[in-house]
């Protein structure tokens, strides 16, 4: 139980570090780490609940999100030649403080569900506020960063948070659903990567604030 709490805290911490990181490549590295922690958590949940199918999910998580997608992202970054700075719309210290507020907020929102009796009886329920915070932080990252690549990573982090929340509430989703989601994520990553390519080719930049020009 303590192990899962610790992993969940690490999971949240990495998400915040991702907001704090100023380089695109280190962002990808952090995402990979984030997914690996998720995978380890899944494995821990599997071990604690004796649910065999979660092992598969854990392995898939680490392989796909920990290795394949980061590799793909790195490929895209090199191919487009994305500038290494992250270019935040909101300055870093303020972003971090907002993350703190978001974490506090998610704690406030979820607290009644976690401490209330008979509502949630999983051993992983403590990680629910943290996974909600991760979802918020991923969302915030999509809002507060200029580049398409960083927005993709924000989305992926959000999605990691969703998986974590699923473990917290019900030890994960049924295997078939999880597989479906994996496939979706992979497709989404590919499509977004392609989109970044296209944005880059059309506008010579991946700065999404430029897209506002389409408005005119």
């Amino acid at each position: 139980m303590n192990l899962i709490d610790g992993l969940a805290a690490t999971f949240l911490l990495i998400a915040i570090l991702a907001v704090a990181s100023g380089r695109v490549l280190s962002l990808v590295r952090l995402y990979s780490l984030h997914s690996i922690v998720l995978g380890i958590t899944a494995a821990a949940v599997a071990a604690l609940t004796n649910a065999g199918h979660i092992y598969i999910v854990a392995a898939l998580t680490i392989a796909l999100k920990g290795a394949l997608i980061p590799w793909g992202l790195r490929y895209v970054i090199e191919k487009i030649g994305v500038h290494r700075e992250v270019e935040p719309l909101v300055p870093l210290p303020v972003s971090l403080l907002i993350c703190g507020v978001l974490t506090a907020l998610s704690f406030y929102i979820v607290q009644p569900i976690v401490t209330g009796h008979d509502i949630l009886e999983t051993i992983t329920k403590n990680s629910l506020p943290m996974s909600l915070a991760v979802i918020f932080i991923g969302f915030f990252m999509m809002i507060a960063r200029k580049k398409a690549i960083t927005q993709i990573i924000g989305l992926l982090i959000m999605e990691n948070g969703l998986f974590m929340a699923a473990y917290a509430v019900a030890y994960g989703m049924p295997l078939i659903v999880e597989l479906g989601v994996f496939f979706d994520i992979l497709m989404a990553a590919i499509i977004l990567g392609l989109l970044a390519f296209r944005i880059n080719r059309t506008f010579d930049t991946v700065d999404t604030t430029i897209l506002r020009r389409l408005h005119d």
Partner: protein
């Protein structure tokens, strides 16, 4: 009897000031009267604090419906009265020397008159036992302080600052009056004793209570200078002569803390948790905003005024925390020690009321002394004054240590207790509290640290290094009456810190009279202060002093033993080969630049660097740095309100058509309507 003589002494002082105007004695006698009545005030209040029963003075009442006009000194009043009396006594002594500068420039009779009236009204505000009487006294206090603010009316900014003060304080008064009226509708009486019955009225709805609370917070928050109602404070306090600034910052703003404590805990009873959280939030913002503005200022008195905003924030953090804990302990008695923790927070807050009164009046007096001898309020034109004004420098140093919460001075003790009460909030299981209390801890820590930075900067710029102007170079030490009064306050700052255990015992009686929970037996043990839960933590201010008194000589002796006695050579400061002038020093603006760079932009501090190009692209011929503080609150909060008000009055402007007959008709119709309605 004593009370009557206090009032008569003050009135006599005021009267004599007018009669003796422009005579030698006119500069002495009114202040002797003020000091005398302050001394009597201490004599009268001390027994009340020690538990010898309340002092009540009934005034003649002519209108029965308004209730009984009585002045009442209970524990809470007595505490504030003693704090006030100590300050007013020192300020009175100080004024004798300080006001010589104003001779032949401004009317000293007016000063003596207003000074006595102001002190008397402060005393009445702290003792009024009836809402109507209170409002009258409150008004006298506001108006007399207004006239004191515009005392130096020849100076350009003083009248406009005074006007802003007058407007703001009356808006505040309107809210207070509304709150009192609402309370009157519940009790049918204007007596504070009957207001206290509201606490027990179970049929009174929560909305009503909350409405009254909000009105009170708005009204007294204006006087306390809580952000965003603070805008008058940093203008009015510096505009007044320094002795008055000391009174206003040290005593007058405390009337708000006094009434909030009395109304919330005494009359309304803290029923809702969010009241406390709201106060906590506003207080944290005030502390932070106040201190950042203080850091951006270069006018010595405005720095002190903004620091008052910060310190009122700290005091209200204590009050807010006490309200939160009290609300929880009302609702749930299963959580242990909660009532004790509420008491600890209130004790901390009251302790800080006292500390702030002592060190802020000391600092304003020191500032006054420095300003009279250097003829400027701009700290960029001072420097090196410490060598010319040794004693003033030393006393100001004590004040700066105290306000920077350096142990074991009084500022530290208050903050320590406040931190402990916040730390102990963990027993509460409410997520909102669990989030906001750590935030308050962080805000308090940040505000405290920046305040220390601010006073290092202030002291360094004013008293240390080389003089930056001729006036600063030729500064002269202040007169004996000024030094004497500063010495009293400086030693009180040290003593109240070192002997905090005794003070806390007394303050606890005050908070017990409000909250009904005494914690002295749990908190004070011999020379140590502990937290009331038994074992969370403790501190012994006296032991800190003893350790220091042992260690300092030890360090000195040991370091002089090793390697022979200390030999000192006096040389120039390391100058890299160019002789250093006054302009080679770090300026105060430069000194605060890193902090302002990070925090200033959130409160509207703007700076710009402009350069004149020269032949070399790398070295500009001339560089200019300009920093200004955009009045954010005025511009984005008050101006829209102002505009809306003007708009509204334009709309209904047609009523005012300028014909006397029409106005008479209005009066006539109003009269008829009133007669019909209230027949």
């Amino acid at each position: 009897m004593l009370f009557v003589s206090i009032i008569l002494t003050s009135l006599a002082g005021a009267l004599l000031a007018v009669l003796l105007n422009k005579r030698r004695a006119g500069m002495l006698i009114p202040y002797i009267a003020a000091a005398l009545s302050s001394a009597m005030l201490i004599v009268m209040s001390a027994p009340v604090l020690l538990g010898h029963g309340d002092v009540i003075l009934s005034l003649p009442t002519y209108i029965q419906r308004l209730g009984e006009f009585s002045l009442r000194v209970d524990s809470l009043s007595a505490f504030f009265l003693i704090v006030m009396a100590i300050v007013t006594m020192c300020v009175s002594i100080y004024s004798v020397g300080y006001l010589r500068e104003y001779e032949n420039k401004y009317n000293l009779g007016r000063m003596g008159f207003l000074f006595n009236i102001f002190i008397l009204s402060l005393c009445m505000v702290f003792t009024a036992g009836n809402a109507i009487l209170f409002l009258i006294m409150w008004e006298i206090m506001s108006v007399s302080s207004y006239f004191l603010v515009i005392y130096e009316w020849r100076r350009a900014d003083s009248v406009s600052s005074g006007l802003m003060y007058l407007v703001m304080t009356h808006v505040g008064t309107a809210f207070i009056a509304a709150a009192f009226l609402l309370m009157w509708t519940q009790t049918g009486s204007f007596d504070f004793t009957s207001f206290a019955g509201i606490r027990e009225m179970s049929e009174l709805s929560g909305t009503m209570r909350s409405g009254i609370f909000i009105l009170l917070l708005l009204g007294f928050g204006t006087k306390a200078g809580l952000v965003p109602l603070h805008i008058w404070l940093p203008r009015a306090h510096p505009a007044a002569p320094s002795n008055i600034s000391a009174l206003m910052s040290a005593v007058m703003v405390k009337t708000a803390a006094y009434m909030i404590i009395r109304c919330c805990f005494g009359f309304l009873g803290v029923t809702e948790v969010w009241w406390g959280l709201l106060v906590l939030l506003i207080a944290c913002i005030s502390a932070l905003v106040g201190v950042v503005y203080a850091l951006a200022e270069t006018d010595i008195k405005r720095i002190l005024a903004y620091s008052t905003v910060e310190n009122m924030g700290i005091i209200f953090i204590g009050i807010g925390a006490a309200m939160v804990f009290q609300a929880f302990s009302n609702g749930d008695s299963t959580i242990p020690y909660l009532a004790d923790i509420a008491a600890l927070a209130l004790v901390a807050s009251l302790f800080h009321v006292m500390s702030h009164a002592l060190f802020k009046s000391l600092l304003f007096m020191g500032a006054g002394a420095v300003i009279s001898s250097s003829h400027t309020r701009n700290i960029e034109k001072m420097g090196g004054i410490g060598r010319r004004m040794r004693y003033t420098g030393a006393f100001f140093f004590v004040g700066a240590l105290s306000i920077s919460a350096i142990p074991p001075l009084n500022g530290f003790i208050g903050e320590w207790m406040l931190f402990q009460s916040l730390f102990l909030s963990q027993t509460i299981g409410d997520p909102m509290v669990n989030i906001l209390i750590p935030a308050a801890v962080a805000a308090l820590a940040l505000a405290g640290a920046i305040a220390a930075a601010c006073f290092v900067r202030l002291y360094g710029a004013v008293f240390l290094a080389r003089p930056r102007s001729d006036h600063a170079e030729n500064a002269e030490e202040a007169s004996n009456s000024m030094l004497g009064s500063m010495m009293i306050l400086a030693s009180l700052c040290v003593l109240t810190g070192v002997l905090a255990t005794f003070i806390v015992r007394i303050v606890d009686k005050v908070s017990a009279s409000v909250l009904g929970t005494s914690i002295a037996s749990k908190v004070v043990g011999g020379i140590t202060l502990s937290t009331p839960d038994g074992g969370f933590s403790h501190i012994s201010p006296l032991a800190v002093v003893i350790v220091f008194l042992l260690l300092l000589p030890l360090v000195y002796l040991l370091s002089n033993r090793l390697g022979g006695p200390q030999r000192i050579m006096r040389e120039d400061t390391w100058d890299c080969g160019t002789p250093l002038g006054p302009r080679n020093q770090y300026t105060a603006t430069g000194h605060s630049q890193p902090l302002i760079h990070s925090f200033g932009r959130y409160v509207g501090v703007k700076s710009e660097v402009s350069e004149t190009k020269s032949s070399s692209p790398l070295i500009p011929a001339r560089m200019k740095f300009h920093q200004e503080v955009e009045p954010v609150f005025e511009r984005y909060l008050y101006r829209p309100i102002h505009r809306a008000a003007v708009e509204l009055s334009n709309r209904i402007g047609w009523i005012q058509m300028g014909s006397i007959q029409a106005y008479l008709a209005y009066i006539f119709v109003t009269l008829l309507v009133l007669l019909v309605v209230f027949r």
